[in-house]
Subunit: 330 residues, 2 copies
């Protein structure tokens, strides 16, 4: 090594997770150890036009604050809330933010950060995060599903995200769970897994069942006083042995179990990772879900697939974005 | 080129498709043009122990017959009727033939043929054949499904077969189509797609419906005279406008449509290729199937996925086996 190089020079990857409310940012070492993380609000004024420069300024300030100069940063990954053309670095649109018409996110970020950038969809980036440092660590074949306000997913095959022929692979939330009838989904069809397995879906199922349920339930006083229940109310009541709440959880587990079993018949994953707010229910959801999965999955697959809770929570996006920076550039 | 080499020397790939009744064999050029194909019966005596040497002898005789010596053969691919460990070249078992206990098919075939050999499951090999020279030509992301006595499948992603973490990917036939109840499947669970979408399944649905159907149907005299109907009888009657037969086809299209739409939500394939005996129904099946697929698939996927009939028929296996020889050796 010649004297012009510093053996101890650090190389950092930026992981950036752009959401509708806030932007999560972090620096990681090349092996994925967290150096520092922080957040800034998402400035949606003027159709999100200020976001790029605000991210660029924030990253630069943080580098100077932490290191005195910008030299450690070598690459960045970005997760964005919309469908992405990863090859061209375009975001088709991000309705939450206002970006549209094949927004050239990668090139704009590269200009703002002065390092090479790779981008992907936020659900895919979260899945990569769980593979790299979370519940999927050590696995290369994963189905990741996020049960939040909606239902998102990321499919990992041979250690990389499956994008499919038009970038729409991993749309686990739009598996049709109810073949005839079912609730209308935002996507325009009915009966999607998202309509029954998201937090919103759990609440809707609960309210529908409460309307016609004659028996006692811990959920009744809640809906009487507040006009609604939350998904958490349902899981809490189920944990206390409430019959109606357990019926709702059983139905959720049934829809999720068959969707994941049938996805597994196609892919034979090593692990299935469940994240998002609904997954905070923990064993109250996992126990019936594992039983339903075993019922519906092809036996050689059922015996060899682990169903696990996601481990990284809201950090999955920044970790996965850093994985992009480490693996998709060069 | 020195004088010791012959500019016109041919290089052939052997494609070998081992079935329970017959073994299909062929030579192809390296670009997949058929040179010659033939069949030999499957000798199941003594748990199939003679098959390897009979294939070896048959290939050698044919090379001498066609070329005067064995020099053209450079590699071979083999499709086998059972689950395969492609890396180790083992067949876990082939109940139809009698092979079991991790039968070392690849190494035995290499010894018999004196060229390098690659092996895979017969459904996967048929899918590769359709990708290389059939309905999937030019595509790299395919779902192939074979509707025969059973229902098999092969998933192609980025131009290669998806095996999954334990080699059980592509088990399309064991997607659970009927979540509660449903017919018992050979795999040990109930309600598999195979129980309703195979030729056997179509016949069973028809016989069940005929038992309770009060109206006129072209199928009634058939079942009265022969005791049963065939899947072809059902499609023929549907083509003539028979109401009951069309109900049976509609139900089949519904089960297939939702299974393929949900598989597409995971993979976003470019094409779906339908093969096997039931696919001979042609448009009588394809037209309602495309309508059901459109109903159940996520819109951006439905708009960009072609559903096509397989083109190679019984030759898909030898073509796909030759693809293995061309792409999986070296």
């Amino acid at each position: 090594m010649n004297s012009g190089e510093n053996e101890m020079s650090e190389k950092w990857l930026a992981g950036i997770d752009i959401g509708g409310t806030s932007i999560k940012l972090a620096f990681f070492t090349e092996t994925g150890e967290l150096v520092h993380k922080w957040e800034i609000p998402t400035n949606k004024d003027n159709r999100g036009m200020a976001i790029i420069s605000e991210v660029g300024d924030s990253v630069q300030s943080k580098l100077i604050e932490l290191h005195g100069d910008v030299s450690p940063l070598v690459a960045a990954g970005v997760g964005a809330p919309g469908p992405v053309d990863t090859d061209k670095g375009l975001l088709f649109e991000a309705v939450n933010i206002g970006w549209q018409d094949n927004f050239p996110l990668r090139d704009l970020m590269q200009s703002a950060l002065n390092v090479p950038v790779a981008i992907d969809n936020d659900a895919n980036v979260a899945a990569l995060g769980e593979m790299w440092k979370g519940a999927g660590k050590g696995s290369k074949d994963l189905i990741c599903i996020t049960l939040g306000t909606g239902v998102g997913g990321g499919i990992i095959y041979k250690g990389d995200i499956v994008h499919g022929s038009k970038g729409a692979a991993g749309e686990v939330g739009h598996i049709t769970s109810v073949s005839n009838g079912g609730y209308m989904c935002n996507c325009g069809k009915t009966g999607c897994l998202e309509t029954v397995a998201s937090a919103t879906g759990v609440v809707r199922t609960a309210l529908d069942k409460l309307k016609v349920y004659d028996g006692e339930s811990l959920l009744k006083p809640i809906v009487e006083s507040s006009g609604t229940v939350t998904a958490k109310d349902v899981f809490d009541a189920a944990a206390k042995g409430d019959k109606l709440a357990n019926e709702i959880v059983e139905l959720l587990a049934d829809y999720l179990g068959i969707a994941l079993a049938n996805s597994s018949a196609i892919l034979n994953p090593e692990k299935i990772v469940i994240g998002g707010g609904v997954s905070k229910a923990g064993d109250i959801l996992l126990t019936p879900l594992r039983a339903k999965y075993k019922k519906y999955a092809f036996k050689p697959i059922a015996e060899n697939t682990e169903i696990l809770l996601a481990e990284l929570g809201n950090d999955a996006g920044i970790v996965g974005a850093a994985w992009l920076a480490a693996n998709k550039i060069g």
